[in-house]
Amino acid sequence: MSGPPAASPVAADTPAIVTNGLTKRFGRSGARAAVDGLDLVVPRGSVFGFLGPNGSGKTTTIRMLLGLAAPTAGDMRVLGVDLRRGARALQEVLPRVGALVEGPAFAPFLSGAANLARFDAADPTSTRATRRDRVHTALDRVGLGAAAGKRAGAYSLGMKQRLGLAAALLGPRELLVLDEPTNGLDPQGTREVRSLIRSLAADGTTVFLSSHLLSEIEQVCTHVAVMRSGRLVTSGPLDRLRAEGAPRVRVRTPDAERAISTLRRLGLETERTSADELDAVLRPGTPVEAVTAALVSDGVRVRGIAVGGASLEERFVELTGEGFDVDG
């Protein structure tokens, strides 16, 4: 990054992405709709989780948003630019967008740094004088500084993923589109990517994060949209989706057995989620403080207690159907 993002020519309240009736059909007769009438609004500055099982149309949507594939119907605005204007619109908007789509990709015979320099040279708005610095800043930012001169073909899966992220960070970006960014990363790498996304978001970059991993979305996103079979099933702030389910209380205790009987006595549907953790559905009239008091008076050693919405996982499965079956 050569500095803070340049003043955006688009008003801050213009959504980063808007689609209307976005549709993509494949096949000779156009029988199969990979994306079917998608209406999506991604607010500026949000970390937007785009969630759905494999084959639900996430990547096809991203391809259309980035001009790699043409929609069969509908229209899109990215950073306020109407993509119906075609190639010219893409030339205008894409330099402001960093993307990692369907995994990283590189010429294996070039070094990591040379690969990044090549992508940068392909951007007609990039400045050659700052290329070297930007490439190395991007590499350092993803922890690849030491491997900059190594052939990309010799990188491990995790290093390739990091290199892909570095490619998305070559310039100041207003929007980052990250398709499964933590694929192939070890837990340490996953944490680093998460904190990278947070720091980018803190700089005001809108992050559009597609994933089939709920935990990933849950930990970094402010907003979420859920896809199923090419259609949007829900979309909005993460908190709202969470709140749509019944509130729950989670109790951590070494006295699980005793706690279960206390919670059941209060009439709460309780489930033991691990050796020392319980999950119960709160009922109206039984606030969490009443639960705490009851547990303590029964001599349960409470090590932790937390209130939350229905676990997002439950909501997700509810919305997308059981299992992660690939949609035909």
């Binding site: 003043a7 001009g67 790699l68 990709a105 015979f109 070039l110 940068d120 007609p124 708005t125 990039s126």
Partner: protein
């Protein structure tokens, strides 16, 4: 932020218009750093060396046997270049050109780098143009490899002296060198059409090997058709028809008719297949 609505574009955007060839430099560096490119150029360089060594070891043999000019090599090392070009034009040169031009788009697609170049955003027509020019640069490098190999091997193993032309005239080494370069230019021009054909085929697939093979097959089929009198009517339009029509360059005075015809024919192929490539590539969904 809304006050920034009318802010001018960043200075970088205007700077790029002054450097339309910025990407070409990167592309050429990528191509010529690639092991495969270097191997092909070395192989082409070895064609004249092999010929020179073979002739040196076994003698010229009788004139009229083997490829054109072979019998002249013992008298004059410059004929190594002529022989090597004549031998390479039907097969070796088109083969390497097919590898490079067939790889242009399909190779990027198979690596997956095509999508990242387009996201940069390279611009689809600009990418095709850069890839085509880079293929042409390879053609020039390939022909030069043969010329350099031929001159070095010829000079090392045989005397270099005045050259007797097909018309019977004799020219000095200086003028003969000009003829060598003219002939090299002719060979390079001959391959421009094939570059465009390869580029177009490369936009049809994400399997570079398929595109390379198809391009070689086209060069081969065209040469076969050119041999069959039944196809007389289409002979003048075959991309390979004038590939060996450089004899006029070895007469005195030089006749540039076939040179011009060949250039025109090749340019026609560049326009037509370049147009196909643009038509195909600018409307294609990139799903690789």
């Amino acid at each position: 932020m809304s006050t920034a609505d009318t802010s001018p574009p960043p200075p970088a955007a205007t700077a790029s218009h002054r450097r339309p060839f910025a990407l070409l430099g990167s592309e050429l560096a990528t191509m010529f750093r690639r092991g495969r490119t270097i191997v092909m150029l070395v192989a082409l360089l070895l064609v004249p060396v092999l010929i020179a060594v073979a002739v040196r070891l076994t003698g010229a043999g009788s004139r009229g046997r083997g490829p054109a000019f072979l019998g002249d090599i013992t008298d004059n090392g410059l004929f190594v270049v002529f022989t090597a070009l004549t031998v390479s034009i039907p097969l070796f040169l088109p083969l390497t050109v097919a590898v490079v031009s067939g790889d242009t788009i399909a190779g990027e697609a198979s690596f997956g780098t095509l999508r990242y170049l387009l996201l940069a955003p390279v611009g689809r027509v600009r990418l095709l143009a850069v890839k085509f020019v880079a293929s042409c640069a390879f053609v020039v490098a390939a022909v030069l490899a043969i010329v350099i190999g031929g001159v070095v091997a010829g000079a090392a193993l045989f005397p270099i002296g005045p050259v007797t032309l097909l018309s019977g005239d004799t020219i000095g080494v200086g003028e003969a060198s000009v003829r060598v370069l003219l002939l090299a230019g002719y060979a390079a021009v001959s391959l421009l059409g094939l570059c465009a054909i390869g580029l177009f085929i490369s936009t049809l697939t994400s399997m570079p090997v398929g595109a390379m093979a198809a391009t070689v097959v086209i060069a081969g089929v065209s040469q076969v058709l050119d041999q069959l009198p039944q196809f007389d009517a289409i002979h003048p339009y075959l991309p390979t028809h004038l590939w060996l029509g450089f004899a006029d360059l070895l007469r005195s005075p030089i006749l540039f008719d076939s040179y011009g015809q060949n250039l025109l024919l090749q340019l026609a192929y560049v326009v037509v297949f370049g147009g196909f490539a643009i038509g195909r590539f600018t409307t294609k969904d990139i799903l690789s």
